[in-house]
C-alpha cells in the first residue's frame, strides 16, 4: 500500500494534533498563536499537495484514491481556509472565551473534506461528509451567548440530519441491491441493470443529500436563517468550502456511480437548477440583512453550478469547477468585508452599509468588485464562470435552462446594485472611519487581484479545471 498518497491528510492531521497539544498543555497558547499555526499549516499542506501532485493511485484496498479531481478540490479547500482563518482571528476573540478551539474544528472540517475528495467508497464518502457537516453544526452554534447563533446551529442540525438520513438510506439501498459499497462496483452494477426502478429511487434519495449540502431547491430552506445566525467567518466557509464539498459529493455520485442514468440526471437536475436559480435570485430581492441576502444569493449560485452538472460531460464539469473557483474567491472577499464591517458596527443590517464608501473607501471598493463578480459582469472571474456554464447548457441542448440562467443575471444585478447604492450613493448617519488591519488589507488585495486576473486571463484556471474534470470520466 502506498501511504505516501495520504501525505496531505497526514500533514493536516499533524497540524491538528499540534494545535490540540498546544491548547491542552501550554497555558499561554493564545488564539493569536493558534491562528498563526493554522495559517502556516495551510501553506504547509498546500505545499505538500503540490509536491505530491504527480502521485496517482489507490490506498486501503481501493477505498481511497488520488485523482486530479481530488487534488483540485483539496487545493480549493485549503486555499479557501486561509482567509477564513484570518477572518476568524479578527472576529472571535471579542465574542467567545476560548476562540482557539474554533481552529481545531476548522481543521477537522478540512480533514473531512480531504477524505471526501479522495473517497472511493460510498461509506467513506458518507463518513467524510458527516465529519464536515458535524463540524459545521458546532461552528454555526459557536457563539453560545447569542441566541441567534444557537438557533442557527440547531436548525442546521435538524435539517442536516434529515438530509443525511436520506443519503444513508439511498446508500444502504444501493448496498442491498449490489452487495458492495465500492464506487466502481456499484457503478458496474447500476450500468448492468438499465431501467431498474430501484436505482432510480436511489438516485432520488442521493439527490436529497446533495441538495442539502449545495443548498438547492427543495432543501434550501435552512440557508437564509443559518447564514443570518452563524458567525460571519463560519458562513464564509459554509458558503465556499461546504458548498464545494456538496459538489464533490454531487460529481462523484452522479458521474461515478450513476453515469448510466444520464437521462434522469439531466431531467431532474436541470429542473432543480432552474427552480434554484429563480428561488435564490427572487428571494434575495427583498432582504434587509446582508447575510440573508448572501444566503439567497448563494442559493442562486448553486443553481448556476447545477446547470453545469445538468449539462454533464467534461465541458459541463469543467464549467462547474471553474464556477466554484470563481465563486469561492469572490464570496471570500465579500465575507471578509462583511466580517470587518459587522465587527466594527455590530450590525449586519444592509442599512448599516450606508455611506460605506466614505467610512472605508477600501472596503467599499472591494465589496463593489465582489458584487460585480457575483453578478457576472466582465472582466471579472464570475463572468467567465457564468459564460462557461451557459455555454455548456447550450451545447447540451438545454437552451431553455441557459435562457433562464441568462435572464436571472439581470434580476441579480438589481439586488447587487442596491447594495452598491447603499454604499456609494447614500450618506450614513455616522461617519467614523472603519479601520482595516494590515493582514486584512493584504488578503483582500490578493483576493481582488485574483478576481480580476482570473477574469481577464482565464486560461490557466480553465486548464486546471479541465485537467481535473477529465479525470472524472
Amino acid at each position: 500500500m502506498n501511504l505516501s498518497l495520504l501525505m496531505p491528510e497526514f500533514t493536516a492531521l499533524g497540524v491538528l494534533l499540534a494545535l490540540l497539544v498546544g491548547e491542552m498543555f501550554c497555558k499561554d497558547f493564545s488564539s493569536r498563536l493558534s491562528a498563526k499555526v493554522s495559517l502556516a499549516g495551510c501553506f504547509l499542506v498546500l505545499a505538500v499537495i503540490i509536491l505530491n501532485a504527480k502521485a496517482r493511485g489507490t490506498a486501503f484496498d481501493g477505498v481511497f484514491t488520488v485523482t486530479p479531481l481530488a487534488i483540485f478540490f483539496k487545493v480549493f479547500f485549503v486555499t479557501a481556509l486561509m482567509p477564513v482563518i484570518l477572518m476568524a482571528q479578527e472576529f472571535f476573540p471579542a465574542k467567545v472565551k476560548h476562540p482557539g478551539e474554533l481552529f481545531l474544528i476548522l481543521w477537522c472540517t478540512l480533514i473531512g473534506s480531504f477524505f471526501l475528495s479522495s473517497a472511493n467508497d460510498l461509506l467513506v464518502l458518507f463518513i467524510a461528509l458527516e465529519i464536515v457537516t458535524l463540524s459545521f453544526y458546532i461552528m454555526a452554534a459557536y457563539i453560545r451567548k447569542e441566541l441567534i447563533s444557537i438557533e442557527s446551529g440547531l436548525k442546521y442540525l435538524i435539517i442536516g440530519s434529515l438530509a443525511s438520513a436520506f443519503l444513508i438510506y439511498g446508500i444502504s439501498l444501493l448496498y442491498v441491491a449490489t452487495g458492495t459499497t465500492s464506487i466502481d462496483g456499484v457503478r458496474l452494477a447500476v450500468a448492468a441493470a438499465p431501467g431498474s426502478a430501484l436505482f432510480k429511487l436511489c438516485l432520488v434519495f442521493v439527490l436529497a443529500g446533495i441538495g442539502f449540502k449545495v443548498a438547492s431547491v427543495p432543501f434550501q430552506l435552512w440557508v437564509p436563517d443559518v447564514y443570518e445566525g452563524a458567525p460571519s467567518p463560519v458562513v464564509a466557509y459554509l458558503s465556499t468550502g461546504s458548498k464545494a464539498a456538496g459538489f464533490v459529493l454531487a460529481l462523484r455520485l452522479l458521474f461515478s456511480v450513476f453515469p448510466s442514468l444520464e437521462h434522469e440526471r439531466t431531467l431532474l437536475i436541470s429542473l432543480l437548477a432552474a427552480l434554484t436559480i429563480l428561488y435564490g435570485n427572487l428571494g434575495a430581492l427583498m432582504q434587509g440583512n446582508i447575510k440573508r441576502l448572501f444566503g439567497y444569493s448563494s442559493i442562486g449560485h448553486a443553481g448556476y453550478i447545477l446547470i453545469g452538472i445538468a449539462a454533464g460531460g467534461v465541458e459541463g464539469v469543467r464549467a462547474v469547477l471553474f464556477y466554484i473557483l470563481a465563486y469561492g474567491l469572490t464570496n471570500l472577499a465579500a465575507f471578509y468585508v462583511i466580517t470587518l464591517v459587522g465587527k466594527t458596527l455590530k450590525s449586519d443590517r444592509i442599512e448599516s452599509y450606508r455611506g460605506l464608501s466614505h467610512r472605508s473607501p477600501f472596503l467599499a471598493a472591494i465589496m463593489f468588485l465582489a458584487l460585480l463578480s457575483l453578478a457576472g459582469v466582465p472582466p471579472l472571474a464570475g463572468f467567465f464562470g457564468k459564460f462557461l456554464v451557459l455555454l455548456a447548457a447550450v451545447n447540451h441542448d438545454l437552451k431553455w435552462l441557459a435562457l433562464v440562467g441568462a435572464l436571472a443575471v439581470a434580476i441579480s444585478l438589481f439586488y447587487y446594485l442596491s447594495l452598491v447604492r447603499k454604499m456609494y450613493l447614500e450618506e450614513s448617519v455616522q461617519t467614523s472611519p472603519i479601520l482595516v488591519p494590515l493582514p486584512a488589507r493584504i488578503t483582500l488585495g490578493i483576493l481582488a487581484a485574483a478576481i480580476i486576473l482570473v477574469g481577464l486571463f482565464q486560461g490557466p484556471a480553465l486548464s486546471f479545471a479541465a485537467w481535473a474534470a477529465q479525470s472524472l470520466f
Binding site: 460585480l372 472582466p379 455555454l391 447550450v394 435562457l403 439581470a410 444585478l413 442596491s418 456609494y424
Partner: protein, 484 residues
C-alpha cells in the same frame, strides 16, 4: 497600434489609482494624455486606412483559449473605423467636460477611462467572445457614474438604465451562445466564421429563430421602441460626459453589433423580421418626436430626440441594402457627434445655473453668443440641415428603404417634420426672445480649453457634412462586404 487603443485607457485608469487625491492637475494630464494619444492613433489609422482593399486591415491575432476557440483578434474595416473616429472625437471632448465634476474627481476619472477603454475594445475586437466581454464591461462604470455624480432622480435613472441594458445583453449572450453551438466550428473568431458561413450558411429556420434574440438584445441599447424608456431618464440623470458618451457612442454599439453579427450571419433571419423592425423603428421615430415636443426639460428633449434618431438607424438596418446601410452607418457617426455636442452644451450651462427647463432660459444669443452659435449649429445638424452629415445620412436611409417599406418611410419622413418642430421651438425659446433676467452672471465659453471640445465636435460634423465621401468611401465597401 490598434491593439493599444483599449488598453491605453485601461492602464491609465489603474495608474490613476496611485495618484494622490489632491493632485488634480496630474490626474487631468493623465486623462487628457490617454484620450489624446488614443485619438491620435485613430487619426493615424484613419489616414493609413486603404479603402480600395477588401476585408479587415491592421489585423492582429493572438490565441487566447485555444480549447474553446477564443482568440483576441483586432482589426478594422470601414464600419468600425468610422465608429472609432466617432469615439475618438467624443471621448476627447468628453474628457474636457468631465473636469467639471468637483467631488471625488479621481473616482470619476477612473470610471471614465474604464468606460472609454471598453468602448474602444468593442470597436476593435473581431472575436465574438471579446466583443461581448467589452460590451458588457461598459456597463460597470455607468451605474456609479450616473448614481453618484448625476442629477435629479439619478438613482432611479441609473438603475433603470443598467437593468434594461443588461437584460438586453444577456438575451444577446444567449443568442450568441446558441449561434456558437449551431455553427459547430468551435470558434468565436469572426473572420473564420464569416469564411465558413459564406460557403455553408445556417438553415433558414435557425436564422429566423435566432434573429429576434440579437435584434432585441442589441436593440435595447439602441433604444428600440418600446424598450427605449431607460434612455431619456438615464440621459437626464447622467453627468455631462456620461450623457455625451452614452448618447453619442455607447448607443451606437447596439446597431454596430447588429450590423457586425446579425446582418452577415443571419441575413434570412433579419429579412423575416425586417417588416416588424421597420414598423417599430418608425413608431420610435414619430412617438419619441411627439414626446420631445411635450417635454420642458432640455435634457429630456435631447433624450427623446436621440431615441427618435436611433429609429432612422434601425430603419436603415431593416432595409438591408447598400444605400440604406451606408446611410445608417453615416448617421451613427453624425448623430453621435451631434448628440454629444448638444449634451456638452447643455451641461456647460447647467453647471452654472442648475436649471434645465426651457422656460428658465431666454435670449441666450445675447448673453452667451459663442455658446448660442454652437447650440444653434448642433440643433440644425440634428434636424438634418444640408451642410451637416446628418442630412446626407438621413437621405441615404430614406432612399435605401423606400423600395422596401414605402408606407413606413412616408411616415418616417413625417418624423423629420416633428423633429423640426421641437428643435426650432427649443432654439427659439432658449437662444432668442426676451433675455432671461435670472442669470446675469452667466459665463460664455471663453478660453481655448473650454472651446476645444465644441470646436472638435462641430468641426467633425461640418468636415464630414461637406465631405461625406470622406466617410462613405470607407463605409460603402464595408457595408457591401456585410451584405455579400
Amino acid at each position: 497600434m490598434i491593439l493599444a487603443l483599449p488598453w491605453i485607457s485601461m492602464l491609465t485608469a489603474f495608474a490613476l489609482l496611485f495618484v494622490p487625491k489632491e493632485n488634480i492637475r496630474l490626474m487631468k494630464q493623465l486623462v487628457l494624455g490617454s484620450c489624446g494619444i488614443s485619438s491620435a492613433i485613430v487619426l493615424v489609422l484613419f489616414l493609413k486606412f486603404d479603402p480600395s482593399k477588401a476585408g479587415y486591415q491592421f489585423l492582429h491575432r493572438w490565441e487566447w483559449i485555444p480549447s474553446m476557440g477564443i482568440t483576441y483578434q483586432v482589426g478594422l474595416d470601414g464600419l468600425n473605423l468610422t465608429l472609432c473616429v466617432l469615439h475618438a472625437l467624443v471621448s476627447l471632448a468628453g474628457a474636457f467636460m468631465s473636469f467639471g465634476e468637483k467631488e471625488r474627481m479621481k473616482d470619476y476619472l477612473f470610471f471614465y477611462l474604464i468606460l472609454t477603454g471598453a468602448i474602444y475594445g468593442v470597436f476593435t475586437a473581431l472575436d465574438i467572445f471579446f466583443l461581448y466581454l467589452f460590451y458588457e464591461t461598459t456597463l460597470i462604470p455607468l451605474y456609479p457614474m450616473i448614481g453618484i455624480w448625476g442629477s435629479k432622480n439619478k438613482e432611479y435613472g441609473a438603475m433603470k438604465l443598467t437593468i434594461f441594458i443588461t437584460t438586453g445583453a444577456v438575451l444577446a449572450l444567449f443568442g450568441l451562445l446558441a449561434f456558437y453551438h449551431q455553427t459547430g466550428l468551435h470558434t468565436f473568431d469572426l473572420i473564420q466564421i464569416q469564411q465558413q458561413l459564406a460557403m455553408h450558411p445556417l438553415s433558414r429556420g435557425f436564422q429566423e429563430w435566432l434573429a429576434p434574440f440579437l435584434l432585441i438584445g442589441f436593440g435595447v441599447i439602441a433604444s428600440l421602441w418600446p424598450l427605449h424608456s431607460w434612455s431619456p431618464i438615464g440621459y437626464a440623470a447622467a453627468p455631462t460626459s456620461v450623457s455625451m458618451l452614452h448618447a453619442g457612442v455607447l448607443k451606437k454599439m447596439g446597431p454596430y453589433l447588429i450590423l457586425r453579427l446579425a446582418v452577415p450571419f443571419l441575413p434570412l433571419g433579419i429579412q423575416r423580421w425586417a417588416a416588424a423592425l421597420s414598423v417599430l423603428s418608425c413608431i420610435g421615430i414619430v412617438y419619441a418626436g411627439y414626446a420631445a415636443i411635450r417635454q420642458k426639460d432640455l435634457k429630456f428633449i435631447i433624450g427623446f430626440s436621440s431615441v427618435s434618431h436611433m429609429g432612422y438607424i434601425l430603419l436603415g438596418i431593416a432595409a438591408m441594402n447598400p444605400a440604406a446601410l451606408s446611410g445608417a452607418v453615416l448617421l451613427m457617426f453624425s448623430h453621435g457627434v451631434m448628440a454629444a455636442c448638444t449634451f456638452a452644451l447643455i451641461g456647460y450651462v447647467y453647471e452654472q445655473t442648475h436649471a434645465r427647463e426651457v422656460s428658465d432660459y431666454g435670449g441666450m444669443a445675447k448673453l452667451v453668443p459663442f455658446w448660442s452659435v454652437c447650440f444653434v449649429m448642433a440643433s440644425m445638424a440634428s434636424l438634418g440641415l444640408p451642410g451637416f452629415s446628418n442630412f446626407a445620412s438621413e437621405l441615404l436611409v430614406f432612399i435605401g428603404s423606400w423600395q422596401h417599406f414605402p408606407v413606413v418611410v412616408g411616415l418616417a419622413v413625417f418624423g423629420v417634420l416633428v423633429t423640426a418642430i421641437y428643435l426650432l421651438r427649443m432654439v427659439q425659446h432658449v437662444c432668442y426672445g426676451p433675455v432671461s433676467e435670472r442669470w446675469p452672471k452667466l459665463r460664455d465659453v471663453k478660453t481655448l480649453s473650454e472651446k476645444l471640445p465644441f470646436l472638435l465636435l462641430l468641426g467633425g460634423l461640418l468636415l464630414f457634412g461637406f465631405w461625406p465621401n470622406g466617410l462613405l468611401r470607407v463605409i460603402e465597401p464595408a457595408v457591401g462586404a456585410l451584405l455579400k
